[in-house]
């Protein structure tokens, strides 16, 4: 590891959560405008987290604090891995570990809604993980290596060779951003059938940290999506922005699906498209 990698890693550690918070802010502003509202200020998510941090609330389980910290560490680690140009598959696995910790923490809680949310969270994991993995395998096949730098070094946008990945990646973004129609495990608005699902039992400081972990996750996912057009830094930002915008639009025009529908129809369809693209790369 040389010094540049180290600086990049540190930058990833600090910037990724901030960037994720900004994404959450943009999300809220854009969603409000789509619904003809003014919406909160751009930095509202940071204020929210600050307020959560100041609250001391009795935990629902002795174990949750532990799993929240582990989820945060894993999420930040996956950002750092990407920033340092490490193996993207490993980064994916580290990120999946973070999602697992969130689910285990929810299982530990005492509310039935929390456990119901954890079950659904696992089914979401099952739905998007293979699609995301195959997408990464496709990108690796085109760019000839598994490390983030070779993904970003390709002269031609990967999109031209990987058009069938778009639905799959969009699906992953929708699930990871917990957006409708896939806000199945943690409904975005309260007072619905799962309350807040997997988040029900997290509160106060734990919840604030979980929110930061979520920001870090969002950055990883959007970053990997941006590899589709990684000819320059600007094009990557634009690509990620387009994915985000598409997700927000879909969020506003669709209703929540059931996990059965996600697992039986949407995930297989996305996976088949991605696999077809992978096979097609091998045919060439």
């Amino acid at each position: 590891m040389n010094l540049t990698t180290f600086y990049l890693a540190v930058a990833g550690l600090i910037l990724a959560p901030l960037l994720g918070g900004l994404v959450a802010g943009v999300d809220r502003v854009v969603t409000a405008r789509l619904q003809s509202r003014m919406g909160p200020p751009l930095l509202q998510p940071f204020y929210d987290v600050g307020k959560l941090w100041s609250k001391i609330i009795a935990p629902a389980s002795h174990w949750q604090g532990l799993f929240v910290r582990w989820a945060l560490v894993a999420s930040l680690a996956s950002d750092v891995l990407l920033a340092a140009g490490a193996d993207v598959l490993m980064c994916f696995f580290v990120q999946a570990a973070s999602a697992s910790f969130v689910a285990v923490g929810a299982f530990c809680g005492s509310s039935p809604y929390s456990k119901l949310g954890a079950q659904r969270e696992l089914f979401q994991l099952l739905a998007y993980e293979p699609v995301f993995l195959v997408a990464i395998l496709c990108m690796a096949k085109v760019s000839g290596g598994f490390d983030a730098y070779s993904f970003m070094a390709s002269q031609q946008p990967l999109l031209f060779k990987l058009p069938l990945l778009i639905p799959g990646l969009l699906f992953v973004v929708l699930v990871k951003l917990r957006k409708s129609p896939f806000d199945i495990s943690a409904s975005h608005h309260m007072h619905q059938e799962v309350v807040r699902g997997v988040y029900t039992d997290y509160a106060g400081r734990d919840f604030a940290l979980l929110e930061i972990a979520h920001w870090a996750d969002v950055v990883v996912v959007l970053w990997i999506c941006s590899f589709m057009w990684a000819t320059s830094a600007l094009s990557m930002v634009i690509t990620a922005g387009l994915f985000l915008f598409a997700a927000l639009v879909i969020d506003n025009i669709s209703a929540r699906l059931t996990w059965r529908h996600m697992l039986k129809v949407v995930a297989p369809a996305c996976l088949i498209l991605a696999t077809a693209n992978l096979l097609w790369l091998y045919m060439e």
Binding site: M1, I57, A58, A60, H62, W63, Q64, G65, L66, F67, R69, W70, V73, A74, L81, A86, D87, L89, M90, F93, V94, A96, A97, S100, A103, V104, A106, F107, C108, G109, S110, S111, P112, Y113, K115, Q119, L122, F123, L125, L126, E129, P130, L133, V134, L137, K141, F146, D147, V195, T200, D201, A203, R260, K264, L271, T275, L278, L279, L281, Y282
Partner: protein, 624 residues
């Protein structure tokens, strides 16, 4: 000195087992089992200090030994035939007769092959299996001492059947060590069949109708495996007049030659490792007492199947047979991971997951490159430690609450904290970076780059496995308002569990270095690149997470918990609340097993047929 170590490893367990049978007393038995553990540890470390080496100990290489092996090729099938006739089990009769016919054909029709140059060849692969058998095997045998005592108390037996049980269990360790070390195919077959016998006897140990049915199912399927093994050996002998394994796995020998013997040997490995569509025998084997499941059907015996595939990997690399074997393994990894998800029986979950991971190792063998093979060996070692641990934990919890259903294990952490937390750690070690199982999976995935279909199957299996294990861990940790009522555990129970926990985590963390040790020198330089190279820095991160997490845990474990949010008013009666319509509702919880998607009844036939087609292709591809 080396010969003495090998003698201890192979013969001492048999002697100790016989002593258990003769001396009967429980105290002596405990002492003998503990002594065997110590002896095997010394022997294995002694051998490990010399590896890699070749040796010619008399009891494995002399004329007499080879005659014994030759006789065993008749004796084992004859015994199986006898048992088959006594039970009128058609398939056992059929396949044991086939084995007898093959043995007779070999003796009468083929010229006697020259003995192998050295009877014992010990390389990284054999050493890995040897260490697993000697350490994990010993821990599990020690665990079996208190377990079997409870088990017999529960069954109200008048005469203890433990002496016979421990004879088979201990002798089995010796057979496995012999199998790992022998370089002569005939000796290998002797030990291979001996493990089939042990498995048959131990599955049927409880003598219930279910146990007998399962034992005979295991027997006929493994007899079929024996037929594949023996015909593979005979064909290889016919083709090259060789029984020397290390000479046979030379790729130069096989250029232009028919790969059929290799395909048959690999097929025998697939049967032993319970790959789809042969998985049913391993699931049936779960009726046996838990130490048996942990030792034979997860940590060691089924590893003999992947051992033979890994042994053949130099020949498989780049061939059609290898490519099909990769698909076979990857498909089983995917299919049994899906089946595991639909199960609520904890032992069945473990069984399916075992088959899945064996499939992953077989896929590594099919790829055959040094990188893939060393990943396979690392997986073999770490899986043995982790899955052995999980079996011991489930066995202990089952004896505590009298059920092995995951729904009944809900909230186990408040009833027997040490065992439940060890099980949670084991489940997490199956899926979390930077531990070895995940890294092995990662390495296999990247090494499979030649086959897109195998990669997709692995991706699916990986996601299914994550969901399965997170749900397992989450259910054990599930919060419930029960006051902790820790039950007392014997030191002989908790000691092996903690030792296995330490080895599962320790080996999981040592994986990158194990991997580097196993690679040939040419590729060892780049061994710590890519994902393996990331591990040390991820360890630092994980340690950091551990420290932060433990600090918070220490702070929070004293906190008063909030009342559960149940969307209603908690009522006076425990577990009920006043909810919608002003009614009193009783709270109940349960996992969603999505049996409509992952149900055994629905999937087994369909996936089994697909896997069967792949195995046919494996043999057919070699004939053409």
């Amino acid at each position: 000195m080396l010969d003495a170590y090998i003698g201890v490893l192979v013969l001492w367990p048999l002697v100790a087992g016989l002593a258990c049978l003769v001396l009967q007393s429980p105290g002596v038995r405990s002492a003998l089992v503990l002594a065997t553990g110590a002896a095997l540890a010394v022997g294995a470390l002694g051998v490990a200090s010399q590896a890699p080496f070749t040796a010619n100990p008399g009891f494995l290489s002399s004329e007499t030994a080879l005659h014994v092996a030759e006789a065993a090729a008749f004796v084992f099938p004859a015994y199986f035939l006898l048992r088959g006739l006594m039970r009128k089990h058609l398939l056992v009769i059929l396949f044991s007769c086939a084995q007898l016919a093959l043995a007779a054909f070999g003796v009468t029709q083929l010229p006697a092959a020259p003995a192998a140059q050295s009877a014992v060849v010990c390389d990284g692969l054999s050493l890995a299996l040897l260490l697993v058998v000697s350490f994990a095997g010993s821990f599990i045998c020690i665990f079996a001492l208190p377990y079997m005592k409870h088990h017999e108390e529960h069954l109200h037996l008048k005469v203890s059947r433990q002496p016979g049980f421990f004879l088979v269990l201990l002798a089995f360790l010796g057979f496995m060590n012999g199998l790992a070390l022998s370089n002569d195919l005939r000796m290998f077959e002797l030990f291979f069949e001996a493990t089939t016998l042990c498995s048959f006897l131990l599955i049927g140990h409880d003598n219930t109708e279910e146990a007998k049915t399962s034992a005979f199912r295991a027997l006929w399927i493994n007899c079929l495996g024996g037929v594949f093994l023996h015909s593979g050996i005979l064909l290889a002998q016919k083709q090259f007049n060789l029984v020397d394994i290390s000479a046979l796995v030379n790729p130069a020998l096989w250029t232009g030659a028919s790969m059929l013997p290799i395909a048959l040997l690999a097929l025998a490995g697939c049967v032993k490792a319970a790959q789809m569509p042969f998985q049913s025998w391993l699931l049936g084997a779960m009726v046996a007492p838990t130490p048996v499941s942990a030792l034979l059907h997860s940590s060691t015996m089924v590893k003999a199947g992947v051992f033979i595939c890994l042994r053949l990997s130099p020949v498989l690399q780049g061939t059609v047979t290898g490519k099909i074997l990769l698909l076979v393994g990857a498909f089983t990894f995917f299919a049994t991971s899906a089946l595991a998800l639909g199960q609520s029986n904890a032992k069945k979950i473990l069984a399916y997951s075992t088959i899945a991971n064996l499939g992953l190792i077989i896929a590594c063998a099919g790829i055959g490159t040094p990188v893939a093979v060393s990943a396979g060996i690392v997986l073999l070692v770490i899986h043995a430690a982790t899955k052995g641990l999980l079996f011991l934990c489930v066995g202990d919890m089952e004896q505590t609450i009298g059920s092995r259903d995951l729904e009944d294990l809900r909230g186990m952490v408040s009833k027997s904290p040490v065992t439940a937390l060890a099980a949670v750690a084991g489940a997490m070690a199956m899926i979390l970076p930077p531990l070895g199982m995940l890294v092995g999976k990662w390495a296999a995935l990247e090494a499979a780059a030649q086959s897109p279909v195998a990669m997709v199957l692995m991706a699916l299996g990986s996601a299914l496995g994550v969901v399965c294990w997170v749900r397992f861990a989450g259910t054990l940790l599930s919060g419930k308002a029960i006051k902790p009522k820790a039950s007392p555990t014997s030191a002989l129970t908790s000691m092996p569990i903690l030792a296995m926990l330490a080895s599962a985590v320790g080996l999981g963390m040592a994986a990158p270095w194990l991997n580097a040790l196993l690679l040939p020198e040419a590729s060892a330089a780049s061994a710590l690149s890519g994902g393996w190279g990331l591990m040390p820095s991820l360890f630092v991160v994980a340690m950091l997470g551990w420290i932060i997490g433990m600090k918070v845990l220490g702070r929070q474990s004293a906190a008063t918990l909030s009342t559960p949010y149940i969307g209603g008013l908690p009522s006076v009666e425990k577990g009920t609340y006043v909810g919608p319509l002003g009614r009193t509702w009783v709270l109940s919880e349960g996992n969603e097993y999505a049996t409509e998607l992952f149900g055994e009844a629905k999937l087994t036939k369909f996936l089994g047929a697909l896997a069967g087609a792949l195995l046919l292709a494996l043999v057919g591809g070699a004939i053409i």
